[in-house]
Symmetry: D2
Subunit: 338 residues, 4 copies
């Protein structure tokens, strides 16, 4: 890598924008935060001040027009992901976009086209791929440690359900939450999902059901290479953020456990207790967020492919749409659109 730094503009100064901006400044040596934009100018200014960044914009287009910005992190609200992506591509900026690109397949296709045309880098924020445990599972699978993949399993349970107000605009559990798991099974198996079958239920909060969504589901998957898979989701695991994967194959099995705050074990007359899984996703995937930013910056600086391209942003949405359909049909298997 040469000595040049990637000058990054961060679009959106909310929770995830602040996270990325901080990581870029403190933990990603190849990057420098050049500018920050937010429709809420105060938020942008506060973040900029805390990081010692001088350029602040209210309109993301201004940031895109800034010639000293090489790349952008799109951390705006979900509905703005695709329009900003397209505008950024046209402005010739490399793009890191939070997931999902869009809930609408056509809009994602437009993004793909704009990116292709502009020849810019594009990376989607599927941060879990950069978790050290899941990455090790994937690497082992790739290296043939378990032979040919027969089944893959993702257990993914949030520590608490989001407010119903959020559920209503989230696009539903499949595109909001399970989408990470759809990405994960593609990542772990290196194969595409061709068919899904979903049993859903409202067991955590009736209000989620009234909002037209489910909070608990089990999902069967079929892959192009013949493998099978299962995903299990819950919106509320009271003991913490439960994130585990397992891949089983002709020569063995590999699985990854939860992360905990420490590895102590306490034994008393009453019980043997150890730590609960980490509760908060920012803590659980803290390092993964740093690693994905590093990977993006490296891809830009060294003109390499990003590890999670625009196509990787498209596929999970397709699976999510099929999953939603299967759930609506009471579990009937639904093919994933090609």
């Amino acid at each position: 890598m040469d000595n040049r730094k990637l000058r990054v503009g961060v679009i959106g100064a909310g929770r995830i924008g602040r996270l990325h901006a901080n990581n870029l400044k403190n933990a990603v040596p190849g990057a420098v935060v050049e500018a920050i934009s937010d429709v809420n100018l105060l938020s942008a200014r506060a973040l900029a001040a805390s990081l010692g960044v001088s350029k602040v914009y209210q309109d993301y287009q201004q940031l895109l027009d800034d010639n000293e910005v090489d790349a952008v992190f799109i951390c705006a609200s979900t509905d703005m992901h695709s329009p900003i992506s397209i505008a950024a591509a046209r402005a010739g900026k490399h793009i890191f976009c939070e997931k999902p690109i869009d809930h609408d397949l056509d809009k994602i296709e437009e993004v793909l086209e704009a990116v292709k045309e502009a020849g810019v880098k594009y990376q989607v924020g599927f941060n879990r791929r950069f978790d050290r445990n899941f990455k090790k599972v994937r690497d082992s699978v790739r290296e043939g440690a378990i032979g040919e993949v027969h089944t893959v399993r993702v257990t993914s349970r949030d520590p608490e359900a989001p407010p119903v107000s959020y559920v209503k605009v989230s696009g539903g559990i499949f595109v909001d939450m399970t989408i990470h798991d759809f990405d994960m099974v593609r990542y772990l198996t290196d194969s595409e999902v061709t068919e899904v079958s979903v049993f859903g239920a409202v067991l955590v909060d009736p209000a989620i059901g009234e909002a037209g969504d489910v909070d608990t589901c089990v999902i069967n998957l079929r892959f192009k290479n013949g493998a099978l898979g299962t995903i299990e989701n819950s919106r509320q695991a009271v003991y913490g953020y439960d994130q585990r994967v397992e891949v089983f194959g002709s020569k063995g099995m590999i699985h990854a456990q939860n992360e905990t705050a420490n590895n102590t074990v306490l034994m008393t007359r009453d019980a043997v207790t150890s730590e609960k899984p980490l509760w908060f996703f920012l803590e659980r995937y803290n390092d993964a967020f740093i690693q994905e930013a590093k990977a993006f910056v490296e891809a830009c600086l060294q003109d390499k492919e990003t590890p999670v391209g625009a196509y990787d942003g498209l596929q999970p949405v397709k699976i999510a749409i099929a999953a939603r359909k299967s759930w609506k049909l009471g579990g009937k298997p639904v093919k994933v659109e090609d």
Copy 2:
């Protein structure tokens, strides 16, 4: 318990018959092996000699006619389970019958009726319920440790696939192998399966596919109480007999791991290695076989209900039949017959 011993006749001197006969003699204080029968008289004689049992019969009816026999263990071939059950009930013997009672629902119903009419005890050989780990999971669930059950998961993989000759007469994976898991989910959740959806595949041995069966499957379940479930099966886990369960609920989660030959951990320059799961089901469930026999003997001697009654033998077969249908329909959800 009074000092009287339960006099048991063992019908069938094959692998499982020998197992039960040995356990009854050496590990079940309340029982005495009174007689042994097998169509292969030599087998019956050999077993009887090794145990110091004097009565040997070729025809199971002779054993049923023996007034000094209080109860029978039916360890004959599967197709004989229901006819012998009926005959034994009519002879007034208490009955322990290996699983499955039958592949045919009507025949199982006949058994239920005969047993009811005769007023004898009936226990089905779902030995895994007596595994100390699974039992602890179930007890914790019952005691409310995890609140209301939301999902249940059974991972059940055999160490190696049976010969295709066996597969052909087995009735298929659902009635032969998954039936244990169908029993397990009922046991763990205390609720009935109402609907199943199955994705199956032939990934271990093409010959199994040619025999009209699958060797790998993922199964979604829906329960009467609203809970969901998943079962994952493979005919071949090269690392050993993989038997795990997990129950997740409103107040927590509990899971049980595999058993190993010992708990040592070796660390060298190359790796950290620990023991593989126990390979052979007779070793893995060694103690569970003893516990189920003890429970049966106790129920007979103390005139209590057996812990796994005839109805528990019926339900898993119903689920297996629905599962087979779902698989044939490419994963379409199928209701379990009431």
Copy 3:
């Protein structure tokens, strides 16, 4: 092994005598309990009745005079171990003797001589050698899995302190409790202890101190082959019977954990809890007791060396005596008598 059974006389019908008698009857196929003796004739009779044994003696010498007894299990009080051992040897019986042979080295030497002269088998009841975990550690060490042994560690904590009345006649912690650990380090390293240094303390119960003993100690060891070792003892681990070993060497390390009633893990909002170590030594070493009896019976029937000979009974007592001396001297290193 031929078909002949080893006819065993059990001397002492207390807790440990009953344990061995039951195991011999139910779990050791090569043995038959021929006779039982106890100074308390009622105890002997009760045990004999429960096992269907017809010969009962009050005086152990009568049992030794019985020509139909091939071997004896000496389960009398500790002070009778050496006199009965000598008498049994002179009567030509093979001998299984509970630990310790004696607290007095001269008396043990007499036993060794008598056994040698009579040419009978002798095994000391160091049951922990037969624990599946510790045995695996020892086997791995022997096979060179960790290279040359550098250090060995035994953690050995009882679940609760014995009554002070027992402590007073126990001979002290080193000969009563640590003796098992002295045997264990010899077993694991295949080397002799040459020097010990002990720091002791009274932290559990002042009454133990008043009785002239300690309830907590840490022990440094030096071995003939140059290796070092540590033992840590407590009379009271409130969470259960804590029994672990670790051997460290030039090529790696191997350690064995505690055993638990089951391997389930429960996660709730409050904690992640798993099972405590088994509490009771009869439960913890249940299988080890069976295995040591099997090994003794096999050695007798096949005229092989017993796995824990009279010399193995002598050495730990020597170490215990040195340990006591070191403790009395405030931790000064003391050589183990050759």
Copy 4:
């Protein structure tokens, strides 16, 4: 904390100086690296350039004379720790000093005096106290989770022996390596060591013995509060950096395990393998180094006591000197100088 930043001068631009300088810049928000000094001016310049620091000095006294420096990190060679500490105290700078302060007790006392007189903050680099696992053990002990402490155990094995050239100038294993463990037992028990007894051996590399040192040792400890302890050291654990602690008390036990690169488990026909302990101390204690710097900066900015004061730098050296004496005397217990 106010908005003022602590302006830090880093003295010594070797491995540990670079580590601290980088952490101060990237991971400790309250600090700014103001100046860097090293007798090797090129090293100082290179480090300053990489961090964007403009002030570079060859002589540490110049750095101490800089009025824009509030505090120093002393990362020079061990023999310079005490003279620089004294000079820095006289210059009115807060001081973070790498361990050990000195091998000579008198010189440490001089440092203590100078620090006291100047009224500056002083922290010693016992980074392991800031490890999340050990800290949790200590916190639990403090909160009474295990009742009164009866025994403490530290297992501390390096992944590979240092070069003999280093061993010769290291001051010996006790002051060079075990000193961390002496600090750890004080930290975990909140009590002072009063007496040590050491068995040492040369098992890893004969050249270490020829240099007058040992590479393997077991240490018994006695504490002021009556508790006992053990430390086990090896200069070479081929499987990685083995760092574990265990504290046992009247109400229970708590222990902390090794850290690994990830928590995956791979099961194949051959073995069940998991990750080895992290190999390199900079990786193993990466976060602990950050936490100790944060704690120091916070203490300076908020005028609080540092968590590891000068006295904490003195005590482990006293214990190390006693340990060395005990080893020389073949394990004879030696009192720690008051």
